[in-house]
């Protein structure tokens, strides 16, 4: 007698003259066993496999070694199903030597979902995974393309070629003002296939000086080339949208978000998504069929940001920015042609996306932990280690690193809190200068305007909190001036200069006593109460 496994829940028992097929399905707590041979089928519903009825039926079908078959079926029914957290996920396990109890290696298994079910990639081999349950259907309607089943280790040696090819496709369809932008977009596209394994994903922001500059063409082309591109965004119901994003970690392309075209709720939702998509740990909570569920918002997001909705300081720190330029004659975007021409390219990219983080797991994990450029650095290091030409990635890294450094340097411009901290620092610096001057000159009381000395040597002093806040407000003021004679208005017959004083709009929300106290605390400056019950900030010269 010979037993062959023909499927996850199906075996074939070969006797001398006949073949018996046994299939087991679990329905609730019951097992449904179908035994078939010579066109005759018997179905049994059982609670346990070790059942008299089953043994008798097997004997009836002429199975000689019944106990072996029963133990085999028992083994089959024990397979536990895994609820898949995502369309691609990794399983890490230590290989432990039982004799010593020491780990001797690590097994990294990557499960990924394809149109034909689940696959598992481990140790340079792809196998079908039967015990994983997906929560998603209708892939064709949701994505332009999806994970491919074939994964081959050799594909990582083609990483540089693939990146170059992506760059060439881009050059064919869009015009960018600077050469390195092609490398930035190509690298971003290649990384969309690998970022499922990274803790952060970077936003690709497409800037353009006005309409008709080719921003949408770049957006659509980049979307088609990137991993698991979602077909629609704006008008989907939130529940469906979050569920898809949660499961598939797709590429989401947002075009021309304009406040007047979208209702507030939807806009807020898209902004929240784009702002929170960068971190793998971020989730949104939603009530789904009466139960609270957490959906991950981790995704690859590309936006055309002509209205600067996404240009905030927090997004600047992890955004890659490219600027587009109008082409003459304009380039035509052709979805059908791009999809057809890049089929093999996409297959390779999906394959690389599975293999690279799985095989080079320790290095990948260590380098990809950096926000902004970590994943790119990891790809450069791994590809260079395989002896490949990484010039495209290096160019992109140089360009992006410069952008991120610029965002850091100019943080005060886009970060009003930083401006407030600068103002407070300047006030304290001025107060110290006053104390130093007061100790030097003969008329100290004329020098001291901000600070009240607390000792005769002018070593230390206090600034009353009210005065402190007034001073901050004064320094945060911006002034507008008009010369009335230059106005067209008929009401002004004489030349007159008029001034408006107002607190800078960005700073307004920070200039409140509670917020100033909090900022002072962050700067390690304490507020005291003096004997007259006034709040004061204490300052001493060095």
């Amino acid at each position: 007698m010979e037993i062959n496994k023909v499927g996850r829940n199906k075996i074939e028992v070969k006797e001398l003259d006949r073949t018996v097929t046994i299939e087991v399905n679990r329905v609730g707590r019951q097992l449904l066993v179908s035994i078939a041979a010579d066109g005759k089928v018997t179905d049994l519903s059982l609670k346990h496999v070790q059942n008299e009825k089953l043994i008798r039926t097997l004997r009836k079908f002429g199975v000689s070694d019944v106990s072996r078959v029963v133990s085999y079926i028992a083994n089959m029914t024990m397979v536990k199903t895994i609820e898949a957290p995502r369309a691609i996920f990794m399983n890490m396990e230590d290989v432990v030597d039982v004799a010593t109890g020491n780990p001797v290696g690590q097994l990294v298994e990557t499960f990924y979902h394809t149109r034909d079910g689940w696959r598992m990639y481990a140790n340079n081999e792809v196998r079908e995974a039967y015990n994983v349950v997906a929560r998603i259907k209708n892939l064709d309607r949701l994505f332009w393309h999806y994970n491919t089943a074939d994964v081959n280790y050799e594909d990582v040696y083609l990483l540089a070629d693939v990146a170059r090819e992506v760059g060439e496709v881009l050059k064919q369809y869009v015009v960018l003002p600077r050469g390195e932008y092609y490398d930035v977009v190509a690298s971003w596209i290649v990384l969309t296939y690998i970022r499922w394994a990274a803790p952060y994903s970077e936003l690709l922001i497409i800037r353009k000086p006005g309409f008709g500059q080719g921003g949408s063409t770049l957006l659509k082309t980049a979307r088609l080339l990137a991993a698991r591109p979602l077909k629609l965004v704006v008008n989907s119901s939130p529940a469906a949208f979050y569920r898809t994003v949660d499961f598939a970690m797709p590429t989401i392309a947002l075009d021309e978000i304009r406040e007047d075209e979208l209702d507030d709720e939807k806009l807020a939702e898209l902004k929240l998504l784009a702002e929170s998509a960068f971190d793998e740990e971020n989730v949104v909570l939603r009530v789904d069929e009466g139960e609270v569920e957490a959906f991950s918002t981790f995704a690859n997001v590309v936006v055309v940001d002509s209205t600067d909705k996404f240009t905030t300081y927090s997004s600047e720190r992890r955004a890659w920015v490219v600027v587009v330029k109008a082409a003459a004659p304009p380039r035509m975007y052709d979805r059908y042609e791009i999809l057809k021409a890049t089929e093999r390219l996409r297959e390779r990219l999906y394959s690389i996306g599975i293999v690279l983080p799985t095989v080079f797991y320790p290095k990948w994990r260590q380098l990809a932990a950096e926000q902004g450029v970590g994943a790119l650095k990891a790809v450069i290091e791994i590809a260079a280690g395989l002896g490949q030409d990484v010039s495209i990635f290096n160019n992109a890294l140089a360009a992006v690193a410069a952008q991120l450094a610029y965002a850091r340097e100019t943080a005060a411009l886009s970060d009003p809190k930083q401006t407030l901290v600068d103002i407070i620092n300047r006030i304290i610096h001025d107060a110290r200068r006053e104390l130093e001057d007061a100790a030097r000159v003969s008329n100290p009381h004329e020098v001291l305007t901000l600070v009240e000395p607390v000792d005769p040597d002018y070593k230390c002093g206090v600034i009353y909190m009210q005065k402190f806040i007034r001073e901050i407000r004064r320094r945060a003021v911006e002034i507008d001036r008009i010369v009335t004679s230059k106005l067209d208005s008929v009401y002004y017959t004489t030349t007159e200069h008029r001034y408006w004083f107002r607190i800078a709009k960005d700073l307004e929300m920070y200039i409140k006593p509670a917020k100033i106290k909090a900022v002072l605390q962050e700067m390690d400056i304490k507020v005291y109460i003096d004997q007259n019950r006034n709040y004061v900030v204490r300052i001493c010269r060095e």
């Binding site: 290989v95 030597d97 004799a99």
Partner: protein
Amino acid sequence: MLAVPKQEGLYRVGHRYFRVVKLFDICTARHEEISRDICKKIRDCVYMGDCTIVYRYDAELGRAVAEIYSEK
């Protein structure tokens, strides 16, 4: 198939137990062929080359053997 070492022994990966056995110390082509044939007859067995096979223990048996190992 698995990232287990080629040294003989019992290895645990999560809840799965694997036994690595070197069937012949002197491994000629004939020995390799025999090893491969033996492996084909064992369920969940993979031939690792060099007359070494690795196969999966049933969970219960694996635990039992591991217990004996740890007592040693």
